[in-house]
């Protein structure tokens, strides 16, 4: 009876996927209606070429990517016993983006000939780094923190590269947001073997993951080689995510939403869950892409942006529920007593600050002042006073403020990663500023900072509310 119910739900999922796929196939820039696609595609060679050469590869990669992301998400959620885990938290996306950007800049010919290679190596590198840094136990909290650190590090390098090589990295904008654009079947050909093999393996060993949920001791007690199953699980999850991200770029939230839907539907057992989550993941991604193309039929809205619009609130809801369910874990901020005597420490810090400030003041945007310029007092000439001093002083003050902000947030939230940019306060500010620019284009530039202040205030209020910090439960703000 229960089996029958599950089968019905699976058929429902497949039916929905089929429907949304049909809609997806009718979308495109060439003038064909959906009746054309259904009726004349048997005879019209032009339409066949369009369907087979452009639209079907896009649909196929969408189904594969959605399914793979969902399976990877489910797997990671089981492995870390954290319903909010997804491939993005392992730094996989950031690693892929960094290597793709570096490839486009330094090895353009190789990147053009083997388009998916760099992304695949990059995402694997990031995941392996996280793996090595965390150590064999793969403790969930450590994984999340290390993944975040790798993501921050890699994204920072990527942004740096993009600033320095603006022209070379121009064509990577859509990639950075995740898109299903396909020119031929190459993407499908690349991803299919990985996803197929991993999927089969997952079905084969699915039962072992059920035991994992009993906890390490319980599972070992039942004769499961816990350690081995976990390592295999991590490898499979990384493979799925890496193969996907190399072809379609980082697409978030599918790996979060699909497994959650499957659990809501009451599907039990990992083997069944993997099958269901594949279907629902594929459905969600194709639906998101169809919606994106429906909204803007001419141009291309990255599907990653679309899934984020739907998935963002979902994530917040899940986080909110978790925040209520779990009680505060005691995280202490570990400090270490400095072995240096205080005066020496302060002296060194002041010396370093002044040194960096001097170096920065010597830089005129084009080249550094020479020592001779310095002696002749170049730092107090008009240009330096007008352009360099304000810049250096602003940077000094901003740096000090950000550091203060970090100290305060970290002690209030009792979270060692409490940084305004990680917590989303900076993005909130950016969103506020952008809103002002887009909604009120005639307003003076002076209003943009006001928008930023409102945006970041909203962000911090949201965080505080979602984590119940106001009633003293401050540990879930990540």
């Amino acid at each position: 009876m229960f089996q029958f119910q599950q089968l019905r739900l699976l058929l429902l999922g497949i039916f929905l996927l089929f429907l949304v796929s049909l809609v997806h196939l009718t979308q495109g820039q060439a003038d064909y209606t959906w009746t054309d696609v259904l009726l004349t595609s048997w005879t019209d060679e032009r339409l066949q070429a369009i369907l087979f050469g452009i639209r079907l590869p896009r649909l196929a990669i969408g189904i594969l990517a959605g399914g793979a992301l969902a399976m990877a998400g489910l797997l990671l959620q089981t492995l870390t016993r954290n319903p909010l885990a997804s491939a993005g938290t392992l730094g996989i996306n950031a690693g892929a983006f960094l290597f793709v950007s570096a490839g486009a800049i330094f090895f353009p010919t190789v990147a053009a000939n083997f388009p998916f290679l760099f992304a695949f190596i990059g995402s694997c590198t990031a995941a392996i780094l996280v793996f090595l840094l965390v150590g064999r136990g793969m403790e969930p909290v450590k994984v999340a923190l290390t993944g975040m650190i790798i993501t921050l590090l890699f994204s920072a390098i990527t942004s740096g590269l993009q600033l320095m090589y603006e022209q070379e990295t121009n064509g990577l904008f859509l990639w950075g947001a995740g898109t299903l654009i396909q020119n031929n079947w190459a993407g499908v050909q690349f991803a299919l073997p990985f996803i197929l093999t991993t999927g089969m393996l997952l079905l084969y060993i699915g039962k072992s993951f059920d035991l994992l949920l009993l906890g390490d001791e319980g599972a070992t007690g039942l004769g499961l080689a816990t350690e081995r199953v976990k390592i295999i699980g991590w490898i499979l999850a990384i493979t799925l995510a890496a193969a996907t991200v190399s072809v379609v770029g980082p697409i978030g939230f599918i790996g979060l939403m699909a497994p959650h839907i499957v659990r809501l539907l009451g599907i039990k057992g990992h083997r069944e869950q993997f099958v269901h989550t594949f279907v629902w993941g594929a459905f969600l991604l194709i639906a998101a892409d169809a919606l994106a193309r429906f909204i803007q039929s001419g141009g291309e809205i990255p599907v990653g942006a679309m899934t984020a619009i739907v998935g963002g609130p979902w994530l917040m809801y899940l986080a909110y529920r978790m925040g209520r369910r779990y009680t505060s874990s005691k995280i202490t901020l570990n400090g270490r007593e400095s072995s240096l005597p205080l005066p020496v420490l302060y002296g060194a810090l002041i010396f370093m600050t002044l040194g960096v400030a001097l170096l920065s003041l010597m830089y005129g945007g084009g080249n550094f002042d020479s020592v001779q310029d310095l002696i002749s007092g170049s730092l107090f000439q008009e240009f330096a006073l007008r352009y360099r001093w304000p810049r250096v002083l602003t940077a000094f003050l901003i740096g000090a403020l950000l550091a203060l902000c970090g100290v305060l947030l970290q002690s209030v939230l009792r979270n060692p990663l409490g940084d305004p940019s990680i917590l989303g306060i900076t993005s909130g500010g950016g969103a506020g500023a952008l809103t002002i620019i887009v909604l009120f284009p005639t307003l003076s530039f002076a209003f943009v900072p006001i928008g930023a202040v409102i945006g970041s205030t909203l962000a911090i209020v949201t965080i505080l509310l979602a984590t119940n910090v106001l009633i003293g439960n401050p540990s879930h703000s990540l």
Partner: protein
């Protein structure tokens, strides 16, 4: 680099990106006049104005301004000429351009082309797929090519302030009867890399009938009269060769 009928002097100094000009370098040059794109960076504009009188222009007028990109180009050109006291020389340049148009028009008339319809495209790779910026009716380059007796085929259906819509291969089916004039960089050869085995592309009328024309990656469809001159000369040259 862009190919026009003039060279930059060796003394030209790089003052940074148009979105982030290096104020210190600009001030150090002690300019008499600053000319910049109007991209709504008031804070930069105010800074520049303390250095020297600053002239801003916007090559992409909005629909409601009632002025097309070509008129805007001429206005900007004359305004700059006035500011540097070269009005006569500038008028001469614009007159020369008209002569070039007339001559090109005559040449094209004699070619008896299959069709005078054209689509102007800038093609490049985005996310491993070929995409095209197809020029819309309001584009500067479209106006220039219309001045030599060609007719524009493509219209995205909505006003594009930059003068083009970004599309994939599918969209080309709508303008396949026209001459396909493209500007594609040698370093990003989408035809060899992506399109040679693309069934939709190979089936397009202009591909079948060899009406695909490469204007060269250093043709500049924006800019002023000199860029316009290069565009016209190249267009006539590729059409004649056919």
């Amino acid at each position: 680099m862009v190919d026009i009928d003039a060279e930059l002097s060796d003394e030209v100094v790089d003052v940074g990106l148009r979105t982030e000009p290096n104020l210190e370098v600009i001030a150090g040059l002690e300019p008499d006049l600053i000319i910049m794109l109007d991209n709504r960076t008031e804070s930069v504009l105010q800074e520049l104005q303390t250095i020297a009188p600053t002239l801003t222009y916007n090559p992409y007028p909005e629909e409601e301004e009632g002025i097309d990109q070509y008129e805007e180009m001429e206005d900007t050109f004359m305004e700059i000429a006035k500011a540097v006291d070269q009005v006569n020389a500038a008028e001469e340049v614009l007159e020369d351009l008209e002569t070039i148009y007339t001559e090109a028009n005559n040449t094209i008339d004699q070619l008896s082309l299959d069709t005078t319809e054209f689509t102007l495209a800038m093609g490049y790779t985005d996310n491993q797929a070929p995409v095209f910026r197809l020029s819309n009716p309001n584009a500067l380059a479209v106006k220039i090519l219309e001045n030599i007796g060609l007719t524009n085929a493509y219209d995205s259906g909505s006003f594009e302030s930059a003068g083009f819509a970004t599309v994939g291969v599918e969209e080309l089916t709508k303008i396949e009867e026209s001459n396909f004039m493209h500007i594609v960089q040698d370093s990003d050869n989408i035809f060899e890399d992506h399109l040679s085995d693309n069934a939709v592309w190979n089936d397009l009328t202009f591909v079948q009938e060899n009406n695909v024309f490469a204007l060269g990656g250093d043709t500049w469809p924006y800019g002023g009269p000199l860029a316009a001159k290069t565009l016209v000369e190249r267009t006539v040259a590729v059409l004649e060769e056919n």
